[in-house]
């Protein structure tokens, strides 16, 4: 239904950096000090990663992040409770009773994690949002401007908006940033979530966002980086309006208790798990 080809293909490897770093550290420690130390280093790295996972889980309340953090935590503990049998007979990895206990949880969390991955419950929906916003927008040259665009005015209660923000972050549709008079919803693209989650000085108002003022005004802003991520230069005014209207549509569906329709609409955009 939607033209996902409107976005450039995702070739970023930023999302793989943590995995690459942990493997490099594991390889270096294993090569220099032996496999036993390598496993301990990998375990320590996973425990550190799990801390970030718990921070992400706290910030988003997303089930995927919770399970991911628990998986890394148990795996990290597991690697620190097993022994490497370099010269002796039998298995190379010697499991203690604690390790056997943890192993059960590792498998449980892994299966759960794969399920959440396949069902896109642990996927940031930034690319889907940008693809949906660009639906039926005509190409046009030299129309970009860095200004936010007022979309329209709505009537809603502050509490409704806060519940909506909780929903969007839980399902990774957007990360809300709370200001005194408004909430900004930032669509985050998969692989680019780290500065949003862990950055202390993120200039979030320079990113792409849709802001809902408590007085009802809705405003949209698209960053130049996101604009250039489209294959073609699109007519900017209708694109900004479309992005704002998309969030308004989500908000109206949320108010009617049709949250599942929001997720359905996201899933109608055919984008891979890791993009």
């Amino acid at each position: 239904m939607y033209y996902t080809q409107i976005l450039k293909s995702d070739k970023s490897i930023i999302g793989l950096v943590p995995a690459i770093v942990s493997l490099v550290l594991f390889g270096c420690a294993g090569a220099l000090f032996g496999m036993g130390i390598g496993l301990k280093v990998l375990g320590a790295v996973l425990l550190i990663y799990s801390v970030f996972g718990f921070i992400a889980a706290y910030r988003t309340n997303n089930l995927g992040y919770k399970i991911s953090a628990l998986y890394m935590f148990t795996f990290g503990l597991y690697l620190n409770t097993v022994y490497w049998n370099e010269f002796g007979p039998g298995d190379k990895i010697v499991k203690t009773p604690e390790a056997r206990f943890l192993f059960v949880f590792i498998i449980l969390f892994l299966v759960w994690l794969v399920y959440l991955l396949v069902t896109k419950r642990i996927k940031w929906r930034g690319r889907e949002i940008m693809a949906l916003a660009a639906n039926e927008i005509e190409p046009a040259e030299n129309t970009y401007t860095d200004r936010p665009r007022p979309v329209r005015k709505l009537e809603f209660g502050k509490e409704h908006l806060q519940n909506f923000a909780d929903f969007l972050k839980k399902y990774l549709v957007a990360l809300p940033f709370y200001e005194r008079d408004r909430i900004l919803f930032l669509p985050v693209k998969m692989g680019f979530e780290y500065p949003y989650l862990f950055g202390s000085n993120l200039n979030y108002w320079e990113k792409t966002w849709v802001a809902f003022d408590y007085d009802g005004t809705v405003t949209a802003h698209i960053s130049q980086q996101d604009y250039l991520d489209y294959k073609e230069n699109l007519s900017f005014d209708p694109l900004c309006a479309s992005l704002g209207e998309l969030y308004i549509e989500f908000f109206e569906k949320f108010q009617k208790g049709e949250e599942v329709r929001i997720i359905d609409k996201m899933n109608s955009v055919k984008i891979g798990f890791f993009s």
């Binding site: 046009a140 030299n142 129309t143 970009y144 401007t145 860095d146 200004r147 936010p148 665009r149 007022p150 200001e179 005194r180 008079d181 408004r182 108002w205 802001a211 003022d213 005004t217 405003t219 007519s235 900017f236 005014d237 209708p238 900004c240």
Partner: protein, 205 residues
């Protein structure tokens, strides 16, 4: 009575000088006086006194007469009026008086305008606009701080590919009271002049 702004500016600048009361007193007491005489009387540099008297002559407070008593001709100055009266109409300084906008003009942001808008934190308007002026090494940034009405107006300015709108329509959309019209027109004129805003006459007129 002095009513011309330039003349008021000139006389104002010289009346602000520390020595102005003394020189005016001399002009009042003497039937006529030369710059040299006044300078020696007040221990001032002759050039300073000359400039002061020439300024008074330019606005018509003193009359000067060229005399040839000494080796070289020189001027003697005579006070023409005992009171200095100025009247300034501030409204005349504004190109457009409040309420007199060009309602036929429709505007929007120009494509590729060399401009950067800075948003006021926690507010839905701009706090300043930076315009790049000139080319190459001569290029410089002109930053204009905006009033909140101007900031709201520019926040609601149509995008480069959006439909043109009149100043009136934009003000209505932004919820700007009519009393701010003149400052809105002023910033719009400035940005039109610097190529940030594209303006054209409305077809419907």
């Amino acid at each position: 009575m002095i009513t011309e702004f330039k003349k008021i500016q000139l006389i104002g600048a010289y009346l602000a000088k520390e020595y102005a009361p003394d020189l005016l007193r001399l002009l009042y007491l003497y039937k006529d006086i030369s710059a040299s005489e006044a300078a020696s009387r007040l221990s001032l540099h002759i050039r300073t006194v000359q400039e002061f008297l020439e300024a008074l002559h330019a606005v018509g407070i003193v009359q000067k007469e060229e005399v040839f008593e000494k080796k070289r001709p020189y001027f003697r100055y005579t006070l023409q009026q005992e009171k200095i009266v100025c009247e300034m109409d501030i409204a005349a300084l504004a190109d457009t008086k409040p309420g007199e906008s060009d309602n036929e003009l429709v505007i929007r942001e120009r494509k590729n305008a060399n401009v950067r808008f800075t948003t006021a934190r926690n507010n839905l308007y701009f706090s300043s606009v930076s315009i790049w002026i000139g080319e190459g090494r001569e290029r410089s940034e002109k930053k204009v701080s905006l009033t909140s009405a101007q900031g709201k107006f520019l926040f609601n300015l149509p995008f480069p590919d959006a439909k043109f709108a009149t100043i009136e329509e934009i003000m209505q959309k932004a919820g700007i009271p009519e009393e701010h019209r003149s400052e809105i027109i002023d910033i719009a004129d400035l940005l039109i002049e610097h190529g940030v805003i594209e303006a054209m006459k409305s077809v419907s007129g």
